[in-house]
Subunit: 313 residues, 2 copies
Amino acid sequence: MTSSPSFLERIRLGDKRALSRLLTQVENDDAEVAPILAELSSPNRRAYRIGITGPPGAGKSTLAKELVKAYRKSQQTVAVVAVDPTSPFTGGALLGDRIRMSDVMLDSGVFIRSMATRGSLGGLAAKAAEVSRVLEAAGYDIIIFETVGVGQSELDIVKAADTIVVALVPESGDSVQAMKAGLMEIADVFAMNKADRADSDKAVQALESSLELRERSVDAWRVPVVKTVAMNGVGISDLRSAIETHRAYLQSKGLLEKKRQARDQELVERLVEEKWRRAFWTESRREFLAQKLSERLSPYLVADLLFSNDEQT
Amino acid sequence: MTSSPSFLERIRLGDKRALSRLLTQVENDDAEVAPILAELSSPNRRAYRIGITGPPGAGKSTLAKELVKAYRKSQQTVAVVAVDPTSPFTGGALLGDRIRMSDVMLDSGVFIRSMATRGSLGGLAAKAAEVSRVLEAAGYDIIIFETVGVGQSELDIVKAADTIVVALVPESGDSVQAMKAGLMEIADVFAMNKADRADSDKAVQALESSLELRERSVDAWRVPVVKTVAMNGVGISDLRSAIETHRAYLQSKGLLEKKRQARDQELVERLVEEKWRRAFWTESRREFLAQKLSERLSPYLVADLLFSNDEQT
């Protein structure tokens, strides 16, 4: 049923239920889904990808919600992909954040997808990339990735974005921590959120001076620090401007196309690998593997045998 | 130099500096290291793997340290692999924990390795498995995996252990959270740590009754809850007994061998995949990929072409 043309057409026309169903198939590694994605994918549809990351409590969800509103004001459609690869012990405010976003959820030009990923082994970044590809094909202009924390898999997810917004709060040591976490390297724009706090100017200055020290070539992008109070919508238009300026910068340098090509390349590599895996691991090779291991052969030797001696299998 | 027989011999004889050097090569994906590992790996050396996981603040490091002491008392050598895949924002007490373990570090029968993994993309569980294989070959009797939190990659790491100890503290909701985090499914032994707190008996009872409800077949392992106060060494011998009982259970059911075979199988799969990747991605295939993507072909189509048409390359 999902392969009928009307299903594809419904997605292209913005049917959210059809879209949700397809995304679930993508997340579940449904094999049926590959030809649909192949057909759906179109080089002419272009979504701009914004990643929002930062420590828990920096207000990432609120920033995302306000950015959605800002883009909606100029008639652009927005999809939000909220990813939570952390456990309920260390994070997981995601559900609450989603409810807080409910006023934008009623908007037909907004699509919100949360990826709760406990149990889906590995490849979270790859999955998020595929989800965003579907959202792009479905016609969304802007895709916002939002993560709960700044763990490794979350960084991998936002790294696929065109513009990476790192949200911080003016707390002592927060920018030092950002540096340690590798956020300085990946940030295209800093949002110093909750900037109505007393020490916010000092925090912005400290961040700016450490950014100054890191400046490299003359025409490199200069990472701006934007003060926001997302709760009250303050600074959001500045933040959006900073994102748009970065977008124009990428475009002028041909970097947007490069990022896209790098994403496509990664997808091809993954798809080829998947094809190979399915073709290689035949019943007989699986039996050979089990047999040799039960004979106590070293895994390193077994791998050599499997890879070199095709006649063995 | 690292391929000289004396290097291998030194590792087999317990030279910690040689071992550290080899482990660094393993972590860095040094290609030279594969033949060394192949030679080093021996089916006759058997280490028992214990994984310790649980929410931050449950005292996992202290439990690990006390277990090390307990095993050392019976002349068994112990290696500890401490893994921290989280960011400095959400965890990262690891360094401090390592310093706190310093009294056991001076013991020649103890080896402590921390894997700080920010930046090493993916495959953390695979890496930890390879590290533990080296430690096994180096002759350690017991390998303890310790994680900082309970993120997905941390769970993947402890899942490779023979006995999984889940540490909790008697705080309201902690066991409910454990259930949500999927810790109930993977725990072989629960350590209710900091059990000198007032509400510890209640917490143990609550945990035991939820475990009762989950009981399945008659001869399934019954997950024990052990009360500990790791800071004072209280309950550690009970914890060790529980681990040893689980070990005997696994052995009696032939499950220990099965776990080992599953680990070996995973390693073979990964090694074969690595070999294939190196062989497949020739210069000409890379060029073909770049060319087709620049022509705006769909990644799905390019993957098909690459995989099917060998003559294309």
